[in-house]
Point group: C2
Chain length 112, copies 2
Amino acid sequence: MARLPYACGLDAAVDLMGGKWKARILWQLHDGPHRFGELRRSLTGISEKMLIQQLRELEADELVHREVYREVPPKVEYSLTGFGATLNEALVPLGDWGHEHMARIEARRAAG
Amino acid sequence: MARLPYACGLDAAVDLMGGKWKARILWQLHDGPHRFGELRRSLTGISEKMLIQQLRELEADELVHREVYREVPPKVEYSLTGFGATLNEALVPLGDWGHEHMARIEARRAAG
DNA sequence: CGGTATCCGTTAAGATACTG
DNA sequence: CAGTATCTTAACGGATACCG
């Protein structure tokens, strides 16, 4: 079925940052560029495959910039674009909300 | 594999409102209770199955309240709980961001 | 009106091994 | 170090038909 146009801003935003990892990846980049390996260690539980896949999508959506340094050993740094930084700011209240209610949310999840 | 604890607030929040529909459903309820059929018509493109499934999950997470009126024909109203209202507020900046950048996001999506 | 039940294809996600 | 490749499972999303 043909994709419908976005119904609202939230629809568009969720399309870009939705899923299990993207918001957390953007979050990790808020304080400057990070290398692939740093991100992998920070994002506990992510597989290399998912990390690179999500980074590629974020790059295609112009939220993240990928800079390759031609060195040995190889070095690649990921950073927020200006566009990505604005999205990150819009995610702050959501992150705060989650932080504030984390105990409740964990408890509900544990309850099944 | 056993689920890890939430890594940050954003992780917990996305777990509750992530997916294609939940943010939009919460959004629709911001101005008061709505009936099942109203929501179905508002959320263009959603199937009845997805709508009821997402509503049940939102109810289980105490974000949405379900009120059944024993009438003929049947009437059920969904509304935000206090908890759901606070999440909705945290989503406002994200919705604004999406609205502001909608044209750009649509264009990227069209480009494939 | 407000759902259920069933079936089905697609996408997300994860484990593991391997490469330039 | 920063990825690729392959395979498998789980979750998401949708179509259709039916029910109280």
